[in-house]
């Protein structure tokens, strides 16, 4: 992952799922905040990225725009208990997206 990839906007063909998630999260929380951070599978949405609950709404919209119906992020979040939301990592979302794409 390079910062050049992070700065890319617009759909990217055959982009690895982690790169897509990093790019979309970066668009939401702002490049200036993410540049200091290397988004990996172990990055926590709560502790590291400090993504606010309302920002998940924006992430849901961006994921739908990118993947269409194949990835249902709203259903993914809706099934999460409090402790699972607190412990949510980028890797959890990447795994879910990869699984959804395989099943689609």
């Amino acid at each position: 992952m390079t910062t050049g990839q992070l700065a890319t906007t617009g759909p990217v063909q055959d982009e690895p799922v982690l790169a897509t998630v990093s790019r979309l999260v970066t668009e939401i929380i702002g490049e200036e905040y993410v540049l200091a951070l290397d988004i990996t599978l172990d990055t926590s949405f709560n502790a590291d990225l400090e993504v606010e609950s309302i920002e998940f709404v924006a992430l849901a919209a961006k994921l739908r725009e990118h993947y269409g119906e194949r990835v249902d992020f709203v259903a993914f979040l809706a099934g999460k208990e409090v402790h699972e939301i607190i412990a949510l990592h980028v890797g959890d979302l990447v795994t879910y997206i990869e699984q959804s794409l395989r099943d689609a």
Partner: protein, 383 residues
């Protein structure tokens, strides 16, 4: 003449709106009393106010220490499991006793003083919700329904344990919800209905206003107030350091509300004070930098002063979003904002008149909403 009992949590921000409202009710000849924390709430109340003490100071300090640094869903979990529910259980006997002794016609329960609503419900008394912040009306966790389900489960157990036969949601009175804001700030689409009264902020004179060296203020220079509220003032070192660096080259005067011992070496155009007379300073300020606590935001907007908002947790991200959407300020990220971005945000709200225009638009809506007098009108109809 009627009798009104306020139930308030041990939080200054949640107690203050009830002070002006209580004074308004008393002016109209009603009897008013409070159930709340003696040490935290007592000093905020009007001279001679009746307070039924509820709560424990040691527990409060310990909870505050343990909550430091929590954000997002972790803060949400802590707020409910470690603060709101234990607080309700601790306050309940005192509120029940206060009801027995004071015999109110109406209980006015802050949304975080759940014991007030539970006790009123238990006694079959009409009760109103004092919604200090509008965030609960906005459902911030709409995408995470299990968080809301979990909190509602805690509320149901709380009421069953208290002997309430029919559990309700003690955050939302079916009779009257007083929201100290207006739709000019919240935007449309909040949980509403005829029983929700948007009265604007309930501001009044403050008891024990902190001392301030007013002679330090230079009327020819613009004033910036930087405050993270009463809860976060001591944990904001990184943020205040960024603010100091952001302010360094700006031709303004700035007052930072934090412990001066943490920032002993500041330039002459900056003053660090542990407490300030906030309303008086906001009235003179050209911009306020805030954690987006609801009271500070509304006090600034009531004076037409634009904001830079850096929300930390709880309702603050919602309120900060309202400020930004209303055009009355710039939102930055509390945890990571640097001096450069903070300076740009300050330069924007100080220099671009659209922010002040938007803030004045909200101020006008607050004035026409009626404040404490409008809330008192609605409360009188419940008796």
């Amino acid at each position: 003449m009627s009798r009104f009992l306020f139930a308030v949590p041990p939080l200054a921000g949640h107690t203050l709106p009830t002070v002006a409202l209580g004074e308004e009710l008393a002016r109209r000849g009603h009897e008013v009393a409070w159930a709340g924390h003696g040490e935290v709430c007592g000093p905020l109340l009007p001279d001679g106010a009746t307070i039924y003490p509820a709560g424990d100071a040691d527990w409060l300090a310990e909870v505050r220490d343990r909550s430091a640094g929590l954000r997002g869903a972790a803060a949400f979990q802590f707020l409910w499991a470690e603060f709101l529910i234990p607080l309700a259980e601790a306050m309940l006997p005192a509120v029940e006793a206060a009801i027995g002794e004071f015999a109110p016609d109406v209980v006015i329960a802050d949304q975080q003083a759940l014991a007030g609503a539970v006790a009123a419900q238990h006694r079959g008394l009409p009760w109103a919700t004092s919604a200090t912040t509008s965030a609960e009306l906005a459902d911030p966790f709409a995408l995470m329904p299990k968080l809301g389900d979990w909190a509602r489960g805690l509320l149901t157990s709380l009421q069953l344990k208290a002997g309430v036969s029919e559990a309700v949601d003690p955050r939302f009175s079916p009779h009257l919800i007083i929201a100290y804001t207006t739709e000019a700030l919240t935007g449309p689409g909040l949980a509403a209905g005829d029983h929700v009264a948007f009265v604007g902020p309930s501001l009044g004179s403050r008891r024990n206003a902190a001392e301030f060296p007013y002679e330090w203020l230079d009327p020819s220079r613009r004033l910036v107030l930087v405050s993270l509220g009463t809860v976060s003032a001591s944990s904001g070192d990184r943020f205040f350091a960024a603010a100091l660096e952001a302010l360094a080259p700006l031709d303004v005067q700035a007052v930072l509300v934090t412990d001066p011992a943490r920032f002993p070496d500041v330039p002459p155009h900056v003053l660090v004070r542990p407490f300030v007379p906030q309303l008086e300073l906001i009235a003179r300020a050209s911009a306020v930098v805030s954690h987006a606590g609801h009271n500070t935001v509304c006090e600034a907007l009531a004076h037409g002063v634009p904001l830079v908002v850096a929300p930390i947790r709880d309702d603050q991200p919602i309120i900060a979003g309202q400020v930004a959407d209303a055009g009355a300020g710039v939102r930055v990220r509390y945890g990571r904002v640097g001096a450069g971005e903070l300076r740009s945000a300050l330069v924007a709200v100080l220099g671009d008149p659209s922010y002040r225009t938007a803030a004045e638009r909200v101020a006008a809506s607050f004035r026409s909403a009626g404040g404490a007098a409008a809330a008192a009108d609605r409360l009188e109809k419940l008796t």
